[in-house]
Symmetry: D2
Subunit: 415 residues, 4 copies
């Protein structure tokens, strides 16, 4: 059985593909957007499974998405006390204060706005570090997260400080308040190079899954970050990752996230998975229009919401037992996206030695929409692989039994 999850992702991309609202960020030489129609999505689970759809191999620069990871690096390197002294942890609320410095502290409100991110960048490798050394440390760290060597976009380097007035204003103000100590122009160059690291949505999903996984890169298995640094970075994504609308985002989408001006959007569900999308056209708040639409679908259809009551059953498949020619697969718990993904992952690898597969859902507490779709699709594919399929569903939790090709699953009276 081939897992139907990439097909689901492709389906979501198809649903949003024709949305042509929003504007590509232009005129900033350090932003590279090649094609406004690019569209991609990737998911990486904490178990290391990666699913992709669309232009998943297209590279783009991280931009503001880098803020979340470099904040985690600073926490890892310096500890929370030092980092909290430099940058706050509160939402900046209404954008009444362009610099977003705390009124009394003169400290950036949080690390997700530019003032905070420039200050955090300066923490890496110490304030006496050269820009080259600091950027190399950041690049190497981001590469560990991605599980491959990332590089800094050199075209973008050429423009360096062109059109960087807003960042220069912020950096000079930070210097005037003693928040940063290096030359403000060097600080902006250092920060903008961090933003110029090139990634794909696959990289982003894996990096995000590393945060979701307590700092263990789920593909390489390497411990890249402490769990505490991951928690604090995720908390800031939840508090301030989506600019002025972070509260609404956490209410309606419920996935700690960070967006970048080149069109990337990254989300993380702790203990579950990382999501990433690419679509360059931005809404007025600077978030990718189609990226937001994809996340809304993920949240609603996949049941992915930080405040949802259903923790991932680590064992959606309660057991697989074979008696004669019949193998019974017993599911349990709440079957949302992540649960279905684990079940399908297990089933796609399983070496069935039988004629008939019975899916026993008598212990399932409920199905989220996508969970049901994916499980049904998995059954259909198992049937296409030559197995006879039946469902044991005494409480009628499974609902509609029609497959995507119009055929139906057989219902059995006893698992």
């Amino acid at each position: 059985m081939k897992t139907p999850i990439p097909d689901y992702l492709e389906h979501v991309l198809d649903e949003v593909r024709d949305i042509d609202e929003g504007e590509v960020e232009e005129g900033l030489p350090h932003i590279d957007v090649k094609d406004p129609t690019e569209l991609a999505a990737a998911v990486c689970t904490v178990t290391g499974n990666v699913y992709t759809a669309g232009d998943a191999e297209v590279t783009f620069t991280m931009q503001s998405i880098s803020k979340a990871f470099v904040y985690a690096l600073a926490l890892q390197e310096l500890g929370r006390k030092k980092v909290f002294e430099t940058v706050g942890t509160e939402a900046s609320g209404e954008p009444f204060n362009e610099l977003s410095l705390g009124r009394e502290t003169n400290r950036p409100m949080n690390p997700m706005i530019n003032a905070g991110a420039i200050a955090v960048n300066q923490l890496i490798n110490g304030e006496d570090s050269s820009v080259e050394d600091r950027v190399e440390i950041i690049r190497a760290f981001l590469s560990e997260l991605a599980g491959r060597e990332l590089k800094v976009n050199e075209d973008i380097l050429d423009s360096e400080l062109e059109d960087s007035d807003r960042n220069l204003a912020i950096a000079h103000m930070l210097a005037s308040h003693g928040v940063i100590h290096d030359d403000p122009r060097q600080a902006v160059i250092s920060y903008q190079r961090q933003c110029s690291v090139e990634i794909t949505v696959i990289d982003l999903a894996v990096m995000s899954a590393t945060l979701a996984n307590g700092g263990v890169q789920p593909v390489t298995g390497k411990k890249v970050l402490d769990a505490d640094a991951c928690r604090l970075a995720l908390a800031m994504m939840g508090t301030a990752g989506m600019y002025d609308g972070s509260g609404r985002w956490m209410s309606t989408v419920g996935i700690p996230a960070k967006s970048g001006v080149s069109g990337g959007l990254l989300g993380t569900l702790p203990g579950e998975l990382g999501l990433a999308t690419l679509s360059p056209r931005l809404n007025p708040q600077g978030n990718s229009v189609r990226g937001v639409a994809i996340f809304e679908r993920f949240s609603e259809e996949m049941g992915l919401h930080l405040m949802a009551s259903d923790p991932i059953g680590t064992h959606a498949v309660r057991g697989i037992e074979t008696e004669g020619e019949e193998t019974t697969v017993q599911l349990q718990g709440s079957i949302h996206f992540a649960a279905a993904e684990r079940a399908l992952d297990k089933l796609s690898d399983y070496d069935f030695d039988c004629e008939c597969i019975v899916l026993d859902v008598s212990r399932v507490s409920g199905f989220e929409k996508v969970g049901r779709v994916l499980v049904k699709e998995g059954l259909r594919r198992l049937r296409d692989d030559g197995f006879e399929i039946a469902i044991y569903d005494p409480k009628e939790k499974f609902g509609d039994l029609e497959f995507s090709d119009g055929t139906r699953a057989e219902v059995v009276g006893e698992g």
Copy 2:
């Protein structure tokens, strides 16, 4: 075996009991605080287990804690569209704006500040509702959440609008902007009666667990709220539940929470449990000093953090098998508080028919501090119940094997 969890809670209370900082809110006739030394904590799991310590039977008025629940009720009654039109979803950030009305919308920033809570209260039962009818609906709803009939503190009613200048100011301003339509004085009375519903920490923990459980009251099993209303209420607790320090709270404690001026503090971990504490002395931000200290310990020692990477294994006990006189209990997954709680809950009910109990932790991915302490204490109590105890721990994840009475568990080479 009697579960050791209440003893752990009592232990945490002992650790904070001598903290005497903070001030009891005084001079407000509608706040009733009988004794500043009162101290209580309660935990309710989504499976309906309740654990308590301290003055858990003491009643106090809900005050601001009611905001989270009445917001959920409004969402349930009117749907998110109508509620979002009335009150925003963003953190109010720095308290630069005493009324916390959005600059352009003139709408309260969120339902966790008084302006928002007064507006939300007015949504219940329609704007033409009498105060009596509206308060009765709210009281009945809160009673369903608590699983018992709650009542409104009548002593407090007597004072009604005394010293309510700030709320009256807010209500009149809301009326001037058309956010509320009833007489502002009636609106304040209506809101303040909502605040005067009397509860215990046990009630609060159960009510909180209902939010954690997608709206199903875990003790009565009754569906009180839609999952969506629960998610949105929890999201607002995460965004704005702890006033100006909500961002810091979500970073360091990581438990969506709501505090009240009478000393109560409520926290919720979606899909896991509800926590509640009582201690009347408040810090300058208006949060209970010892309540905050207890939550910090819960977060750190119990591994309870919304952004933690460890989802609750719904099945910490992978299996219990008896062969002859030996029963093997196999644990799995990450053993934090909630996992240990479920394991101990299962073991305390289990009818062991053997001489020797072997705990097999070979499949445990890790222990949080409190998880280990609780499991060890459970083993010790099983030994005190007369069983022989052994541990199978080939990867040495269990660490120190010394029990609280100085004795040690036996280690076996094979489960």
Copy 3:
């Protein structure tokens, strides 16, 4: 000779009469506007001359215009120290703060916004005063300024607190911060009665001229206020009298002013005169549209600007000398409106005993536009009274010598 000044005022009214932009404040029962087309202007000099045009006898309620005078009364009664402790002296800047309370002081920013005016009203007659006694003291004081018994509009009293939500919000907030001590509802009633005192533009002009005259009512000659109270009230009109646009107003119009929602507008030039207009339609800032247009003309055409370099020559008429049948009137200094007014006032009373009047302008430093118009018109009227007229103008400062009826003045070579 009859002074041409009323004709000039009538001319200005004609210029603005057809402007029909703006909206009458409606829906507030305590605002009485009878007819949106009402239009009136009045000027009173510090020498007690009153000139009027339009509906100068129409009464209307003072509304916010009362703020300036009651502030002066509070300064007079309590001294600046006590008043400054209660209410600030700074412009409120951008309307970011609806209550306009100082961020740290919780004191109203200035006495020209409602929060400040309500607090100042409470200072009169002490905080234990009944509303009746306080309002009677204010009414009596305003009557002294006007030089006649004013009364409180009783129709408006009937509605009292209807639609007063904004003021009630402010009063409750002031009470919550201890800025006022009386019941907030009584405070609003007290303030709104102050606003309901009925006046005409003539009253306003005279009251304004009293401020301009250091507290001496220029018609009755009675000392009503100390000079210091007048200076401080005028300073606040200059700083904050025209709401958010006060700075722009002081730049372009340059007349300390105060507007009211019933359409009145009051201006004062210290040491010179008081101006008042009535026209009920308001611009979005709440200032009378045609009132503002009249003041702009006054400022530009009459040379009335606080920052203008020309102080009023108290003696525009340097001397009047009669030799035989010829009487020479010698003017001096800068002839702007106020100077021309004084000269014409003198000439209209003068008992000329001659055949020919020669106007000697050889010592005039310059003419403002209206100054020249008025002086020419005065000459024309003297000619109509039967005198022969000639001008001695060796430096050609007078310019065009054509009268309004197309005739011309004779020019002589020697005064």
Copy 4:
């Protein structure tokens, strides 16, 4: 007779000389303060009389004081429409917004804060101007105002952008909003050179008197500015010249003013005079401590307040008549500082041909404190010059007749 006015100024300096509060601005290389004890004052009347006391020849850099004059130059060069499009005219109110950009306009709130001054500087000579050309135009203009060639402090130039982080932050932010178009670093250099023009208090007093005199430099008689540019510059000094305390300053001191960080303080009374002081120690708001103290004395003792009801009588000396050996000097109007100054100026030049001088004060409406002191001192000096002195004061307005040396004036019954 030698005028006693310099002695009065010296007396005021003596009163404040021992105040040693405040701190000299240090650490900014482009501020030059040689000696914190320097103390100087100068007055220049619109008639061109200059009076000085203290270290009146000491040069210092203009710093923020230059803002007022360059704003006037921009208005003169470009007209109010263009200038108002670039920079606002409102007080910035509470310093909640470090950049003081208007919330919606992104335009500096006013030209008296650094953001506004940098933007105004860029208007001079067009945006394509070289820094050298622009600074030369400004230097030449300021020289015309001072009546002598001023120069730019070259020591200060050497440090250029050192410690200019705050100005650089502002300039980059202005560039990011399109308010300025030149390179932000060049803009800061251009502005800081404007601030580095060296002046004395004498220069400042004369420059200020030029604004007071409608743009005619009172010593050279040259027309340097239009009256409109002067009025608008003075209006902004009144609205925002003294930073956050501008409203309080206009209430209590009442003199449109501008202070600089090198210790200078400049005030202007339109139509009357210019004042300037130097004392380097600053209060926390950045205003010269002793400078403020001197201005408070000027305002109170000299009766100099923009909102005062007494315009300057241009003819305090109504007439001088000699009959035989007796010359009668008749004063009239209100005798405040400026009136006394003009009377004494006239008397000190007058060629008395008599034995006895009678001062007739029967037509004086009142004496301000300093007016009386100065007139008495003038009489004493005339007596020392050998004349017999008598006073005709039927209404006893002159009060105490004792001279500073303990002798008394004779009182006569008939002038």
